[in-house]
């Protein structure tokens, strides 16, 4: 929010400089985000006194004037304005001045006479639309003084972050000033003006008001005026609006805006002659439509609150007026609304129709229903003096009067919460400064505090403790170690696993990256992930970030492409959440996965990329003591429902499964995936569900005695049909060689036509003796026989 320093200073009575105020507010109330000089752009304009006006000898419409702009400084200025007369005080732009419209003033000859400056109109000064003549100032204006200073536009704007809890009071200039006054340790009555009750004519000629929805409209006060004159506002009023960044329109609109800035209370003026019968505050009817001031036609919801006459809805309550019922240039009689609406109702309407206005901004923060009378009193004063209107009547419907409420504060709690002692008299003083009344003190222990209705944020004693804490200043609270039992934190196995796993991956050579959690349809299609299993964002920043990732790999592939510009080969991983939506039940799910991508510098003609990554994955699993013997590498075709599979190569990928359940996938990518990301066949990727992996981690590591008797190693070379896989053959050999065969290791494999040859080192041994060669031979023969029977394998010699 923006607050003009001079007005705030005047309202609060503070003597502090703006920098001192900023410091004070920061410490006790609001964050001050900046103090900027208001950019009015009329620094070179000074006040001049018109000494003489003569007709220009060569131009009918021009005058040659002598204007005093300082002591013994009289300038000759040529002026075309019809309203310039001797004796006036005017605003003069001297040569060298840049005016807001971009006009640069120089000494120039006008029809032969040199003009040493320019007398300005309101429009030229950026103070209105009037260009028919020059702006004439009050006769008390001091000659030679800065015009900007004189009219009060030479001000600084304090930008303070007023958070939603203080939206109902401190957004208003008066509320902000009241806060400053409290910080200045001034009791509130110094700035509160007594409101004189309005004198309403006995005939009270005002349209009647009916509140139909008393929940949504807490109070409706309406003022009727006749015979108003719509014209430009006086300079002082315009300046207030300009400082607030609002454009002056006409006296009535400007008055409503000014009172809103000052008090926080929005006002709306209806043209009384456009109203048919009584004013009704009601919810919109089915299919009801309203044309707004902006010209936009809105179809209303049954939950929207409207101001209506007997015929139709006139305005969207608390948000925006309607076309037709509002003011126009010819308006003579007005009905001024000063109402209090329910905050949530207004907020819903604002959000529903996407209409954020100054009024809705204030209403949705919750306004004090006891505020309207004082605003009405000011409004009457301004409308009667500035628009010459006559007050004809008033309606004030206030179904349930809101009264100040009582909060009991247990004094003990202040110290218990803040951790430092605050003397009772201080507690009472802070509350009083904020305009709260301490009604009773029970046994020095409990305070009965009365909260004024303008502070709806103060509802319980903790709210009061915050007020006491901040008024005192949190710098008075010393940092104090707690007196608590010394207890260790409990371990979180998932986080411990994450940390171990990440550092293991880094040791193996993977760099950790972090990507966004969403992508677009393009990435989903590129990785053959069905669109309908993706949870979708209702309000993505851009359409290509609409889908929540079901896999961590699509964006990793994109990052692979980007990193290939700088590096020919690399390994990287990402650890993060993936999401999914069940197509039928729409149940949403979130899982943690780790994605790996490994890029080689050469092409993977024989699956080198796959094996390079597989080796790293096995090292990773082994280092974490994950029971990899429970994991099997299976054909992805057996897991047709596993959606991650489709982005992988048909015959160079495998699903990792535990007891038939997929825990991850590894493989080279499908050529169409690679193509979609502009990549070549020299990379492989993997993605694992980490919670499933963590379950396989060995809980306790138990020592197995070291083999006492040495193993005897023999090699075997078997030629089999090419369909036979390493894992099938290994399984068979281990089974056939048991119990003496302890360990096997594949050391060579090669294809030969329709056959494959495998060469293994076989290690035989026993716990209690060195094996004889006969025992070994028997076991070896068993292996050969078994392999030959099962896989038609033959020994290669």
């Amino acid at each position: 929010m923006y607050y003009p320093y001079h007005l705030i200073k005047e309202l609060s009575g503070t003597k502090k400089t703006k920098e001192q105020l900023a410091h004070l507010l920061l410490k006790h109330s609001f964050e001050v985000e900046g103090i900027e000089k208001f950019p009015h752009g009329i620094d070179g304009v000074i006040i001049g006194h018109v000494l003489s006006v003569k007709q220009h000898p060569d131009a009918d419409k021009l005058h040659v004037t002598e204007i005093e702009v300082g002591k013994k400084d009289v300038r000759t200025i040529v002026c075309g304005a019809p309203n310039i007369v001797e004796g006036q005080k005017v605003a003069v732009a001297l040569p060298g001045t840049d005016l807001p419209g971009g006009v640069h003033i120089t000494t120039a000859k006008l029809r032969g006479i040199e003009s040493d400056g320019m007398v300005c109109s309101a429009k030229e000064l950026g103070l209105g639309d009037d260009h028919t003549g020059i702006l004439v100032l009050d006769e008390t204006a001091p000659v030679g003084a800065s015009f900007a200073k004189f009219i009060g536009i030479d001000d600084s704007i304090i930008e303070a972050k007023v958070l939603p809890d203080r939206g109902s009071d401190a957004i208003a200039y008066l509320g902000f000033a009241r806060e400053i006054s409290a910080l200045d340790r001034h009791t509130p009555h110094l700035i509160e003006k007594k409101v004189k009750p309005l004198r309403i004519p006995a005939y009270n000629r005002s349209p009647k008001v009916v509140i139909e929805d008393k929940k949504a409209c807490l109070r409706y006060l309406g003022l009727s005026f006749t015979n108003i004159t719509i014209e430009e506002s006086p300079l002082w009023l315009k300046v207030h609006l300009i400082l607030a960044g609002l454009r002056p329109i006409n006296n009535i609109v400007d008055i409503t805006n000014y009172l809103m800035l000052l008090t926080g209370q929005p006002l709306h003026a209806f043209d009384t002659d456009m109203l048919a019968g009584a004013i009704t505050v009601r919810k919109a009817k089915k299919n009801e439509k309203l044309t707004l001031l902006s010209g936009e036609v809105k179809k209303l919801s049954l939950d929207d609150l409207v101001i209506a006459d007997t015929k139709k809805a006139l305005a969207l309550a608390g948000v925006m007026g309607g076309k037709g019922s509002g003011m126009s240039e010819t308006t003579k009689n007005i009905f001024l609304e000063i109402a209090t609406f329910d905050a949530s109702t207004i907020r819903r309407t604002k959000n529903r129709h996407n209409l954020s206005t100054d009024a809705s901004f204030r209403y949705e923060r919750g306004l004090d229903p006891n505020l309207p009378p004082s605003v009405a009193s000011e409004a009457v004063k301004l409308v009667t003096t500035l628009a010459h209107g006559k007050l004809m009547g008033m309606r004030d419907i206030y179904p349930t009067v809101m009264k100040p409420w009582k909060v009991l504060l247990t004094v003990d709690r202040v110290e218990k919460m803040l951790g430092t002692k605050v003397p009772l008299f201080e507690v009472v003083q802070y509350l009083a400064l904020l305009g709260l009344t301490v009604k009773k003190v029970v046994d020095q222990k409990v305070l009965e505090v009365i909260v004024p209705t303008r502070r709806p944020d103060l509802r319980d004693e903790w709210d009061l403790i915050e007020e006491i804490g901040r008024m005192r200043g949190y710098d008075t609270v010393p940092a104090t170690p707690p007196l608590l039992p010394l207890t260790p934190g409990t371990k979180n196995p998932a986080k411990t696993f994450e940390r171990e796993a990440k550092s293991t991956l880094a040791h193996i050579g993977f760099d950790e990256i972090m990507t966004y959690s969403f992508y677009g349809e393009k990435e989903a299609i590129a990785t053959s992930l069905p669109i309908d299993i993706h949870p979708k964002l209702a309000n993505p920043l851009t359409p290509d970030q609409k889908l929540l990732r079901v896999s961590i790999l699509p964006l990793m592939l994109r990052k692979t492409k980007e990193n290939l510009r700088s590096f020919p080969s690399f390994d990287m991983f990402e650890w993060g959440s993936v999401f999914s939506k069940q197509v039928k039940s729409h149940i949403l799910e979130e899982k943690k996965t780790v994605g790996l991508i490994s890029v080689m510098s050469k092409k993977s003609d024989d699956g080198e990329a796959f094996f390079a990554l597989k080796g790293k994955v096995m090292a990773f699993l082994g280092s974490l003591h994950i029971e990899s013997d429970q994991i099997t590498f299976e054909d992805k075709k057996s897991f047709s429902l596993f959606s991650l599979g489709q982005m992988f190569h048909e015959t160079r990928s495998a699903v990792l499964s535990v007891a038939g359940k997929p825990v991850g996938i590894i493989g080279e990518f499908h050529p169409k995936t690679l193509k979609a990301f502009g990549l070549e066949n020299r990379l492989a990727g993997a993605e694992f569900f980490v919670d499933e992996l963590a379950l396989l981690q060995k809980k306790d590591i138990l020592f197995t005695p070291i083999q006492k008797f040495p193993y005897a190693v023999r090699d075997i070379s078997l030629t089999c049909p090419k369909q036979v896989t390493v894992s099938a053959l290994e399984k068979l050999i281990l089974k056939a060689g048991a119990p003496l065969l302890k360990h096997i290791e594949l050391f060579d494999i090669y294809k030969q036509g329709e056959e494959k040859s495998f060469a293994f080192h076989l290690s035989f041994g026993a716990e209690d003796k060195t094996l004889s060669s006969d025992e070994m031979d028997a076991s070896f023969d068993q292996i050969v026989a078994s392999a030959s029977k099962q896989f038609s394998a033959r020994m290669r010699l």
Partner: protein
């Protein structure tokens, strides 16, 4: 005397070894003094014919001498072997690079998260975790953000498209405070817990704004009066002093969060100028770090605690921001860039 003979052999052997220059000579020396038929060996062979008194003296002396001769023989052998090496031929360029062995690099956010976890763990805090995809209830309602309240505008939210049937609205969490609700629903005070995690804000990115970033939530709750504003100041000061390796002051300023009452913004004394004022702290001497406050009793009530029974603080701060401060990263977008030229610097 046998003793004298042994000493003489030793002396003779030592002096003759000093003149040995070649491997052949050394072999001859070995045969002569250590061989099976050497004089010393002959003497030792005769031990069994000696009287017990002689044995007592000659035995140890003979053996020690044999060991000494063996030792000097080994030394001479090594010296000769060394002399025969052509060192120049062996020479390598030690300034050439070593065999390539690469390690990966953890993301700076991970490094920082680990560091932060370690400090809090040492103070007895437990690490908790929670989902990024949350319900409106956990992200807003239970944290005392009333429905239709402008407080919800303080955090621009990514909402999920909902199925018409679904009763619950889902969103990407805007704050790790959601885990407060989950943790408190499952645990009773006293506890100390920290929650690191990724959060989302629906706002356009620039050098200092990112729609996905990492946060840290810290929650400490005890009985009323046990965990106070003063405790919070202490924990925050201790944490930051440990983290930055020097004393850091904490400053609290009034603020508003629906889930805390009182609420604070908290600043730390500038770690670059120690509070004197510099460009990093815009001459204020303070760096804005995050929000905090005493858990609102309404939040306690929402998770089923009795109003007024417990008291504690909650604070959140950006790990992303901390990383930017620590590593002097000027553009926040680098953190989510996945650019290995960036990652490999950590």
């Amino acid at each position: 005397m046998i003793q004298e003979r042994i000493n003489k052999i030793a002396k003779e052997a030592e002096s003759s070894l000093s003149s040995v220059q070649t491997t052949a000579d050394l072999e001859l020396w070995e045969v002569k003094y250590l061989g099976r038929k050497s004089e010393l060996n002959e003497i030792l062979k005769g031990l069994r014919d000696m009287t017990p008194d002689e044995k007592k003296i000659i035995g140890p002396l003979g053996n020690t001498t044999k060991q000494t001769l063996f030792r000097i023989f080994e030394e001479a052998k090594n010296t000769l072997a060394e002399k025969s090496i052509d060192w120049e031929k062996e020479r390598i360029d030690v300034t050439a690079p070593g065999t390539l062995h690469t390690f990966g690099h953890l993301h700076p956010i991970t490094l920082l998260e680990n560091e932060v976890q370690d400090i809090f763990s040492s103070m007895g805090f437990t690490i908790a975790d929670g989902p990024e995809l949350e319900t409106e209830h956990n992200n807003f309602d239970a944290l005392n953000f009333p429905a239709d309240h402008p407080a919800r505008d303080m955090q621009d939210t990514f909402w999920l498209e909902e199925d018409k049937k679904s009763k619950e609205h889902h969103l990407l969490r805007t704050q790790t405070s959601t885990v407060q609700v989950r943790f408190m629903e499952a645990n009773k005070p006293p506890f100390r817990v920290i929650v690191p995690g990724k959060v989302f804000r629906n706002e356009a990115t620039d050098a200092s704004h990112e729609f996905a970033f990492h946060q840290f939530e810290c929650l400490m709750v005890g009985n009323e009066g046990e965990v106070t504003v003063a405790t919070f100041k202490y924990v925050a000061e201790t944490f930051f002093s440990q983290f930055f390796g020097k004393h850091v002051d904490v400053r609290l300023r009034p603020s508003f969060f629906p889930f805390t009452e009182p609420s604070f913004e908290f600043d730390i004394s500038c770690i670059i100028c120690d509070g004197k004022g510099c460009s990093a702290c815009k001459q204020t001497g303070w760096l804005e770090i995050g929000g905090a406050g005493m858990v609102n009793q309404k939040v306690f009530e929402a998770v089923g605690y009795k109003r007024g029974k417990y008291q504690g603080f909650a604070w959140g701060f950006g790990l992303t921001r901390l990383a930017m401060m620590k590593y002097k990263i000027a553009d926040i977008r680098l953190l989510m860039s996945s650019d290995l030229r960036f990652i490999r610097q950590f």
